[in-house]
């Protein structure tokens, strides 16, 4: 009888130890999973120049893609060790939370509401709204347009039709007439055909177009409505979040600055100043 009780207790003990070892063991970090797998899986888009788009060779290209490659360098010292999963903007959070991707790098604006669902990295770009002008137009910069409005001229600003369109146009150029178009593409058509003197679009698009097609588009020099872009990760893996933040910080202000700067110059036509030696850049 005693032997039976002792045996039963031993079985219970062993089952208990097994259960604790299985369920209480620390879960493997995403960092380790990615390193073991040998490549990084990044969720991104494919239709937004200069962020993520298919180039003439049919390969994904853009600033987001370069940021993903900087992460791959940090992980494997090899920018090609990335697999991209193309996704629509509304699939960004869903694909991340269902583990279809390791990280989302898809011009994602950091907002408090989104931060309740995902963990954002430190920002890697500050987006804004600006005014793009046709190079063949009457006005060459924001100051000329302000002066024109003061002298009684009518200036039409094309904006995408939404709840803030009118407000945005006034913020861009006070006293202008806001013409609201249904799609983003029509804004460019409006300025190309001189149906509008300027258009309100993302600053990154302006920088890209003004640098890639300087004979067609000009940056008015007006920028407003700043918003931060960050990479999104699952919120329950601090090791992975810390790693991504360290790589981005290093790329923007440290040893790997050249990678970030090359990408920035390539897509926005701007060479950034070198980080200064001494006190770290972000504490100055």
């Amino acid at each position: 009888m005693l032997r039976k009780i002792a045996f039963s207790l031993l079985v219970v003990l062993l089952v208990g130890i097994f259960t604790i070892s299985v369920f209480a063991a620390p879960e493997k970090s995403k960092l380790q999973t990615v390193l073991d797998r040998g490549y990084l899986i990044v969720g991104t888009g494919s239709v937004n120049v200069p962020w993520h788009f298919m180039d003439e060779k049919g390969e994904l290209n853009g600033f987001d893609i370069d940021i993903a490659r900087i992460l791959a360098v940090g992980l494997f010292d090899d920018p090609t060790k990335v697999k991209f999963v193309e996704q629509a903007a509304d699939a960004r959070i869903a694909n991340l939370l269902t583990d279809k991707v390791d990280i989302v790098i898809q011009f994602m604006t950091i907002t408090p509401l989104r931060s309740q669902q995902v963990a954002f990295s430190i920002p890697y770009y500050t987006e804004g709204v600006g005014l793009i002008l046709p190079a063949s137009g009457k006005y060459k910069n924001h100051e000329e347009m302000v002066a024109a409005i003061k002298s009684g001229e009518t200036i039409r600003v094309a904006a995408r039709q939404d709840v803030y369109a009118e407000q945005m146009a006034q913020e861009a150029l006070e006293g202008s007439v806001c013409e609201q178009y249904e799609t983003h593409g029509l804004l460019y058509q409006a300025i190309n055909s001189h149906r509008a003197e300027a258009a309100c679009v993302d600053l990154s698009s302006i920088l890209w177009l003004a640098s890639s097609e300087p004979d067609k588009y000009l940056d008015s020099g007006r920028a407003f409505y700043p918003q931060l872009y960050g990479a999104a990760m699952r919120p329950d893996d601090q090791i992975w979040i810390n790693f991504v933040n360290s790589v981005l910080l290093d790329a923007m202000t440290g040893r790997s600055f050249r990678l970030y700067n090359d990408a920035f110059a390539k897509w926005f036509g701007v060479k950034l100043p070198e980080p200064k030696i001494g006190k770290p850049e972000m504490y100055r």
């Binding site: 709840v163 058509q189 055909s193």
Partner: protein, 220 residues
């Protein structure tokens, strides 16, 4: 899922929407007038004995009837400035809609002209009327009475087509409704109101034109 209707946003903007409706009606009326003129010229060209004029009229109707109106609007609004033709947005739309409507009118008038009994024209020739007088005093009045129902249909159709003016930021009813929709997100309330305004207006146009048709009906 329960949807709570809130027509207050519509109530606050009904004045604007009615202005948009008025603009659409004016555009349709002007376009109809121009379409009739274009249609008459092209229809007489289509039934004339001159082969080149025939072909030209056929080419015109084939081109405009087989191209979507929105495509024509984009070409006229965004494309013409590239070749140095810059019109205001309302003028551009009226111009495009008139050419588009004119192609349909051509077919309507051509059928009307063909339906006139030959004997009537021959009677005119017999009493020594000139070709112009036969057209002006005999063919046109008879043809107009024949095709009045088709003209009514065309006016209603052109009026509904004015909703496409929203694509080039003309503040007619559809544009203002879309604006109200994106500003308030009262999707059903905004679009249901626009729909009612369109239906009632079209019904009234049809009713008035039916009355005119009855008054001008030819009794043989």
């Amino acid at each position: 899922m329960i949807y709570y209707f809130n027509f207050r946003v519509v109530q606050n903007n009904i004045g604007n929407m009615l202005n948009g409706l008025g603009l659409g009606l004016s555009i349709a009326a002007i376009s109809l007038f121009l379409s009739i003129i274009i249609g008459l010229i092209a229809a007489f060209a289509a039934v004339s004995s001159n082969r080149s004029l025939n072909k030209l009229a056929i080419l015109y109707t084939a081109f405009f009837r087989n191209t979507p109106l929105l495509v024509l609007i984009y070409i006229a609004y965004f494309g013409l400035p590239d070749v140095g033709i810059m019109m205001g947005k309302i003028e551009t739309f009226v111009f495009t809609l008139s050419l588009y409507g004119g192609a349909y009118m051509t077919e309507v008038f051509r059928a009307g002209l063909r339906a006139i009994p030959k004997g009537i024209i021959e009677a005119g020739q017999a009493i020594g009327l000139t070709r112009f007088h036969i057209r002006w005093n005999i063919q046109l009045p008879i043809m107009f009475r024949y095709v009045l129902p088709s003209i009514s249909n065309c006016l209603i159709s052109l009026f509904k087509d004015t909703s496409l003016a929203a694509a080039i930021t003309i503040p007619e009813l559809t544009y203002l409704t879309r604006k109200l929709n994106v500003e308030t997100f009262r999707i059903l309330e905004a679009w249901i109101t626009a729909m009612i305004l369109y239906v009632v207006t079209c019904y009234l146009i049809a009713y008035l034109l039916r009355k005119i048709e009855r008054k001008l009906k030819i009794e043989w």
